[in-house]
Symmetry: C2
Subunit: 330 residues, 2 copies
């Protein structure tokens, strides 16, 4: 087995978020489903952007946010994702490296610009997203570094990467490389609409390739097309080693073949912006899990980091969070 260099390697879309505060009326007027992520063309995104208020830009991308969180918690992190060599590509590459994540995927010299996600933040903190995938659609197996996959304890795949075809190929290749090297594969289901788009691909992929699955309640219900959380939890039991199911203010439920661990949500004073909450949960869980902590501690660290993220604007921790695991260890 090759040397263990990373606790977690993430593979996902490399996206810069454009964050705008908005009213719910604006969502309705523009036919947007609150809380959802929609894929749009550059022109569609621009048309909506032209109607929004003043924004701020902040590096995003679901798996990239998770890996930034993993690094912020003191674990060894790497990320792979496709950028164009443009101003926003420079921003993304700077931020992911500045957060302590190894990032070596070559930037595209030509083609579509770096991906952007227009994030509309409602007064209650819920976010609605319109993503233009840009350069991300060119992420392909050639962008994978097999040595990096072999050197990572867990390879974490973002479900959104199922949207572009060549990236999906990279999914399968990464899983095979990881398992051949005796490593684990984790998958995040990303969003119920993403699950709906790709259910027929996800179900067998999960059965055959995934060791650790992250899903929120809506996503796991969508995966199995059932109405009831307990039914969905029983369906995933034993299909993967660990299913980490998040339920917002109800906390999270960890389902293994022969155990169910329920962990309450961390205290939240005021929800500011839910962007990245699920990403942060996965970060906390994986950081603790790869350091050998038990399921309860791992779920608790996930919940704590998610609580930090939803009490700030933006999807990555801006303040020091390295103490969170020690706090839990008490």
């Amino acid at each position: 087995m090759s040397e263990l260099k990373y606790d977690v390697l993430g593979i996902g879309n490399a996206i810069v978020d454009i964050l705008v505060q908005t009213e719910d009326d604006f969502l309705a007027e523009n036919g947007l489903t609150k809380g959802a992520m929609g894929l749009v063309s550059a022109e569609e995104q621009r048309a909506l952007y032209d109607k929004t208020g003043q924004a701020i830009e902040s590096s995003g991308g679901s798996a990239a946010n998770t890996l930034a969180g993993v690094a912020a918690l003191g674990s060894r992190a790497a990320f792979a994702g496709k950028l164009k060599d443009d101003q926003l590509g420079t921003v993304f590459a700077h931020d992911i490296r500045a957060s302590g994540v190894a990032f070596e995927t070559p930037m595209a010299a030509d083609g579509a610009p770096t991906a952007t996600c227009l994030v509309l933040i409602s007064p209650d903190g819920q976010r609605t997203m319109q993503t233009y995938l840009g350069a991300c659609v060119d992420f392909s197996p050639a962008d994978l570094d097999p040595a990096q996959v072999e050197a990572a304890q867990v390879t974490y795949l973002e479900g959104y990467l199922w949207d572009p075809d060549p990236a999906r190929e990279a999914f399968f290749q990464a899983s095979e490389i990881a398992h051949s090297a005796g490593r684990k594969v984790a998958l995040s289901l990303s969003d119920p609409f993403c699950v709906d788009r790709h259910r027929d691909g996800f179900v067998p992929f999960i059965e055959e390739h995934v060791d650790i699955l992250f899903a929120n309640e809506d996503e796991i219900l969508s995966l199995y097309q059932v109405d009831d959380f307990d039914t969905a939890a029983e369906k995933i039991r034993g299909v993967v080693d660990i299913a980490a199911l998040t339920r917002s203010e109800k906390g999270s439920v960890i389902v293994t073949a022969d155990d169910t661990v329920t962990v309450p949500a961390a205290h939240v004073e005021q929800v500011i912006d839910t962007t990245g909450a699920g990403d942060a949960y996965a970060a906390g869980f994986l950081a603790a899990h790869t350091q050998g902590r038990d399921l309860k501690t791992s779920a608790a660290l996930g919940g704590l980091l998610a609580a930090v993220i939803i009490q700030q604007i933006g999807a990555r921790p801006s303040a020091g969070v390295q103490h969170l695991l020690q706090d839990l260890d008490g």
Copy 2:
């Protein structure tokens, strides 16, 4: 006299801020003077950026921030400044228009990229800036729309615009157009180092062209190379119609030929980021002044908006502030 279309037209550098939280040690290690704005090359800025932590991007530029504030307070605002037609140029143009400011300066198709300011925010909220002027150095008299200047009650010039030569030319032309149309000219001294660079130009320009001068204590001391605030205030008295002198937590002092109005600072719970405090003061002052309010009310509104800005990250108001003047009117 042409029709009055704007309360304030701002002319300044069109810059996107890159905001990073930093420790004071980092400033010292990199030879930076805390609180100052330094002009750097693209390469110098990049070298420093590569050493900083995760950032967020937010439209900035001193006069642009002021005009965004003027519009946020419900007054009619326009801005002129030079962008490149690139991703950050798109961001700046979107944000200034989204904040309700008329912005028509043509973007450059070629040449240097849109300007960026690396803003290092210390734990005490003080900010230290490294600006790469990029496309701003190409702002020239040709970018001025004389009709816009004639249609603005006040043309507000940012002292930083004195740095690039063609922009300085535009300064003089704008002042002449404004005065010929019976309008007023305001100037912000921007920064004590800027004053130090351009004292010999500023002193006669102020005497001949400026009706309303904005300066903080360090800037007015630097302008007249004196050590004492009262001495500096007496030197500016009568040189301009109104000198609005800000003194941080001591509030502001408005000096006219025969009056001195002292207004205490607004209450601040916690200083988060002082970026844009002076810009916000000018916005509040001008919004009230152009609506015919007295000097005391104008200074108070300036102080209130500055207090809002230093209690958030970024230089432009993110929350609704339109009520502030009504609150003052009681």
